[in-house]
Structure formats: structure tokens, C-alpha cells
Subunit: 388 residues, 2 copies
């Protein structure tokens, strides 16, 4: 029987000498991440504690309660997944879909496509209903698709980060109940910045991220499901085909049992606790109003410079604005210029909007008058240099 290791010696070919970690100062006015609140960054840098420490267990409860407030839900199963928003997105699919379930996805942008891709990996019968990137669905379109496909789950994006469209929610929940279907809502770019009433809207499952309206770095994915969704989970024939995101296991850790599942990302949870606390301190309605007011200032300022918004005003997101790139401008060269010379990040288009729009985010801590003024002054002084 072997008991000692071979005598090997360390190979230094990958041992590189790097200086201490420093980061350039960026004003993040793209689709996210947005800048974090300094108080959140301070919370994240506190000493870690154990994931079963009584102090941490209490903090978990505070995070859950504040998430319920932010989402306007009473859902017991409300918690941050230990991954980014995409992990929380996948958690909704992984837990609810059983092989062969019909899942209907409303696609009106990049993230609708992602939902369809994920549902397919969980062996759903995936059906889609599509709109142009920049439009929203009507109730009639949704009802027709529900009648046609009779899905057990309808997934739709509230705030499409790729297009800047806010999907009107009135009546969608009622339709899903009428056709006996669960409603899954992507709130990645709306939580904290755009009115959200999960329970009143009869949303059964939702997810979000930490790095936009919550002013926290990326790394956590808020997740929630109501009793209707829990019932579907409880009826599963087999195990959830994803261990890390299995809500039946996570429930034992986040619920009263506190059974160890995985080692929680404790420092990120210090951060989201602080971020949600600051949101509650400001008040949801105040935060929503602030986002709306700053967005309106941005829109009118850009229009005064002769620019055109990609989305009609009644569907426009206050958190993320898509601006049509004038035909004589190299959009990518302009954003690189802003990043390299002014430290300001704004985003380009994704998917079918690549090269056609800029994406300007005013989210969470970054939704401030001085940031609106900064963007407008940069567009005014720098954009003319990029016109051919």
C-alpha cells in the first residue's frame, strides 16, 4: 500500500509576478454591472463568518425579508442563489420543468432566447412566441399562444436588457391562471428600479441579479417562487437535475432546518443585505420615482441633441435606455473613446441590435442627476467627432 507522495518539485512556468490588485475608476452606465453603493462595497469587505454561524443565519433571514419587500411578494421561498442572475434564471427552469413539459417562452430580445435555450436543456417541449426587438407583447398575442400551446409554464422578460423594453404586466397573470399555467418573470433589469408587484401580478416564479437596481456587485441571483410553483416542485417524479440550484435542498438551508447545502458566499450576502437595506431606507416608491425622473431627463436631453430612442416612450424602461446609433457614426469607436478617455462605460447592442443601438443604464446608485448630466455633456462634446 502506498503511503507517501512521489518526490515532485514545483514547476514555476506559470508563476507570474503581478502587482497588487488595482482597478481603474469607471462610471458604469452600460447594461450592468452598475456601480455599487460605497456602503455595499464596505459591507462586502468585512471579515467572513461561518455559513452556519448564528449571526449569519439571522442575516439570511433579513436578506429574505428585504427581498420580499423589494419584489412585493409574500413568498416563503425567497432567497439569493449563490451565483449571478443567470444562475437564478436557470434555477427557475431546473426546479419547475420535468422532461416533456411544454414551456412557452415569449421572445422579444436576447434574454428570451436564453430562457428558451435553458428550457431545452431541461428537456422541455419548448415553444416560442416572438416579437420584434423593441416591442412588447399584447395580451391578445399571449392568450393566443397559451391557447395554441397549452404550456405548463409561460416565461417572459419584464425588463429586456437587450432592447430597453418594459413589458406591460396587466392581465398576464390572470391569463396564465385561466389556462392553468405557471408564470415566470425575468426581473433582472427591473428589481429596485421599476415598479414590480409580483403577488398582485400573479407571478409564480421570478429571478433577478444583484448588480443593477440593487447597487451591489454581480454574484448573487435573487430567486422567488410561490405556493403554486412549490406544488409543481413537490410533485416531481425525479430529483431536480441540477444539484447546486435544487430548491428542495436549498430550502433546508434557508428554511428553519438550516441543513448545510453548500458554503454560502457570505461576503456577497453581506453586500446584498446592505444594498436591500438601503433600498428599504429610501423606500421603493421613491427609488422608482428617482429612476423615472432621471431617465426622463436623459431621454429629453438626448432628443435635444438630435438622437432617437429605439423604444416608444410608453414601453421604455427607466433603468436602461436604447439609443439608435445615427447611420453616420461608428458606435463601437464612440463607446471605446468614452471608456478610454473618460472612464465612462456605455453598452453596445446585443444580437439583432448589435451595431444599431447604444445601451445606457441609469440603475440603482448610478441613477443620479450628475450622471445624466455627464452622459449628456459627453454626447454633446464627443459625438460630433465621430460623425462622418
Amino acid at each position: 500500500m502506498q503511503t507517501t507522495q512521489s518526490m515532485l518539485s514545483v514547476d514555476n512556468q506559470h508563476k507570474k509576478v503581478f502587482g497588487p490588485t488595482k482597478v481603474p475608476d469607471r462610471l458604469l452606465l452600460g447594461p450592468g454591472p452598475s456601480n455599487s453603493d460605497p456602503q455595499v462595497l464596505n459591507a462586502i469587505s468585512l471579515n467572513p463568518v461561518g455559513h452556519l454561524d448564528p449571526f449569519y443565519i439571522a442575516l439570511m433571514g433579513e436578506v429574505q425579508e428585504l427581498l420580499r419587500y423589494a419584489w412585493q411578494t409574500n413568498n416563503r421561498l425567497t432567497l439569493p442563489m449563490s451565483g449571478t442572475g443567470s444562475a437564478a434564471m436557470e434555477a427557475t427552469m431546473a426546479n419547475i420543468i420535468e422532461p416533456g413539459d411544454t414551456v412557452l417562452v415569449g421572445i422579444k430580445g436576447y434574454f428570451g432566447n436564453r430562457l428558451a435555450d435553458m428550457a431545452d436543456r431541461y428537456r422541455a417541449n419548448v415553444q416560442t412566441v416572438e416579437k420584434e426587438w423593441g416591442e412588447a407583447f399584447t395580451l391578445e398575442e399571449i392568450e393566443n399562444a397559451l391557447i395554441k400551446y397549452r404550456p405548463s409554464l409561460f416565461a417572459i422578460v419584464h425588463a429586456e436588457t437587450s432592447t430597453g423594453v418594459c413589458q406591460p404586466m396587466d392581465g398576464i397573470g390572470d391569463l396564465c391562471r385561466k389556462y392553468n399555467c405557471l408564470l415566470l418573470l425575468d426581473t433582472v433589469t427591473s428589481l429596485g428600479g421599476v415598479p414590480l408587484f409580483l403577488d398582485s401580478w400573479k407571478v409564480d416564479l421570478a429571478y433577478s441579479c444583484s448588480q443593477k437596481g440593487l447597487s451591489c456587485p454581480p454574484g448573487l441571483g435573487p430567486f422567488t417562487m410561490n405556493e403554486r410553483a412549490e406544488a409543481k416542485l413537490a410533485e416531481r417524479k425525479g430529483k431536480v437535475p441540477n444539484w447546486y440550484l435544487d430548491v428542495s435542498l436549498l430550502n433546508k438551508y434557508w428554511g428553519s432546518d438550516r441543513v448545510y447545502h453548500h458554503t454560502a458566499p457570505v461576503n456577497m450576502n453581506f453586500g446584498i443585505r446592505e444594498a436591500l437595506r438601503l433600498l428599504a431606507e429610501e423606500g421603493l416608491q421613491n427609488s422608482w420615482d428617482r429612476h423615472k425622473n432621471n431617465a426622463q431627463e436623459l431621454w429629453s436631453g438626448l432628443e435635444n441633441l438630435g438622437l432617437k430612442m429605439h423604444v416608444p416612450i410608453e414601453l421604455r424602461l427607466p433603468t436602461l435606455t436604447t439609443v439608435s446609433i445615427p447611420p453616420d457614426v461608428d458606435g463601437k469607436a464612440f463607446t471605446l473613446h468614452l471608456l478610454n478617455n473618460f472612464g465612462v462605460e456605455i453598452g453596445g447592442g446585443l444580437g439583432s441590435l448589435a451595431g444599431k443601438v447604444w445601451r445606457i443604464g441609469l440603475m440603482g446608485y448610478n441613477s443620479r442627476t450628475e450622471n445624466v448630466e455627464k452622459v449628456l455633456s459627453l454626447f454633446k462634446s464627443e459625438l460630433p467627432k465621430f460623425r462622418n
Copy 2:
């Protein structure tokens, strides 16, 4: 067509008023998380940057290179998964297993069971070979199991966090090649603190965590796979049944294409970059020696107090020590006393060792003479109060 939202107003039932986030000062000498290096905490608190920012892209390359050094591997596909160690564990399974593949898991503790559970969720034909918790496998036992089951993947834990055993690795890689099987190694409690030579050991896939030997908070899961494992991934008939952990997609972001996959947890990556940089600065061999020396001080000090280690010395992990709880002591009451009155966390047993051992970690930043002295002095002064 609906274009306006219903007039709903904010419900304040979950709006709780909490004070700013504060954390008790803990010395984390349990199975993890361990305390983070203050320089790592400082790095984590820096302003976020965009996940496609040229600065961040360069930082990603530095993290990958330093991970290769820490693991002693040349694997191109070496990156931190955007979740905790368990996510990286699942990533190895999700990418490599196709339904019906025979997976052999060596179980000699809690985390071997977790590997088997995960493999089952990816529809493998799961076979196991087991040892008592506190023992390691012999080469003969492994070879017999490889002959019996002819698996396409053999998964084993290098450093079992539940038992404190370090599995000797000599010859295991050769056996796996002989029987045409991939070798998957859990290095969660060894990376940075225990000699690890992935390439020399012919390990095909491995994963780890950020919060132990690397002195970073929990939240990232280092992952690596070599060309043999990549070849198996490339031959898959269907998509990887896990979107978030799909290495074929992640490779496009971490590789030269830099195609957006998910929004990276940028601040956690600032932290792990700093943690790996500090490890390289100290030097791997120095770090391994430090862990070994401090562990030996702990062992002899505890033995001088009449305590017995659970694992024979030749198999004992330097990062995590399991100490047999004397039959007349309430182990849980003692650890609660240390936490509540001295702010020192040590761990209890998991699974079949629950109530039977304490787990004392001396990992990364915490592997220091003063911490050894602190533990010994607490055992000396406080343990007698808990003897019946």
C-alpha cells in the same frame, strides 16, 4: 392593447428597518470558510468594472495563469466558476457525463457521497467503492473497482473535508489511463495548502473553492480540465444539460473570443486574483511547508493535552484536522462556548462522524503560529469545564 400599469401601491409589511451591516469578529478555524487575507478583502471592495472591460479581460488571464501555477497544470481550460466550490464540482459532472456513462465514485466521506448524488442527477450509471470515514483507498482497491465497473470517469476526493484524510495519489492516474477512464479530483481542501501536482498525477478534471487555502471569501469555484476531458466534452451528442456551467459556452468568454456568457462576479474575481497573487508571492512550496509545520504543532499540542487525532498521521491533512471528541465531553456545547465567548469557530463532525470529531482548520491566511497557540490555549483552559 394595454400600455399602462394598474395603479398599485407599495405594501410595507416586509419593509423592515435594519441598521448598517456589521459583522462579529470571528477567528474561523473550522472546515471553512477560513478568514480572508485583509489584502484580498480590500481587493473585493474595489469599484466594479464591466465584465467585458479590457482591464477585466486582462485580469481574467492573470487569474487563469495563477490558478495553473497553484494547481501545477498546463491546462488551457482553467478558470473560476461563478459559484462556490460545489458549483465547480457540479461543472465537472455536468460537462463530462452523458446519460448512461458509468461513473465510479470513491466514497470515504461526505463529499464522496455528494459526487455520487450529482453524477446520478446527470443520469450516469453510478457505481461506488467505499471505505470507512477516516481511511484512504489503496491502489489495489481502486484497480479492482476499475476492473469490475469499467467506468468512463473515476471521481475521488483528494482532501476529505469531512474526515481530515489526504488520499495518496501515487499511481492512481496511471491506473485510470490503463483502464481508459478519466480521473476527477476534488481539491477543495488541498489547493494552496497541500502538495498538488495535477499534471504529474495525470488528473483530467479538478475543482476547488476560494475560501480555504486561497484565503479569499467563498463564492468562486476554480475548475480545470485537460485535453483528454476536452475531447470527451467535444464528442457529446447533446448540449451540456446545465447552461450556467457549460464549459463549451464559458470557453468562448474565458478563451480568446470573449463572447458574453453571464455577467461575471467581477469583485470576487478581484479577490481571487489578489489571493492567488499572494500565494505565488509566498511560493507554493513555502505555503505547503507552512501548512505542514503549523499542523504538526497543532497535533502534538493536542496530543499533549491527551486528545487523539481521528486519522493516522501518514494520511492526515495539514489543512484540516479531525480530533476525536472524548466520550465524556459534549462536543457541540464546547464549540458553541468557543464561538460565543471567544469568537473562535471550530467545526463539528458531518455525516457518520457527527458528534464524534471536531474539525479544526488551519488554512491559508489562518495557518499561523498564533492561531495554533490560540487553539491550544483554549483547549487547555476551556475543555476541562466540559468534562463530565
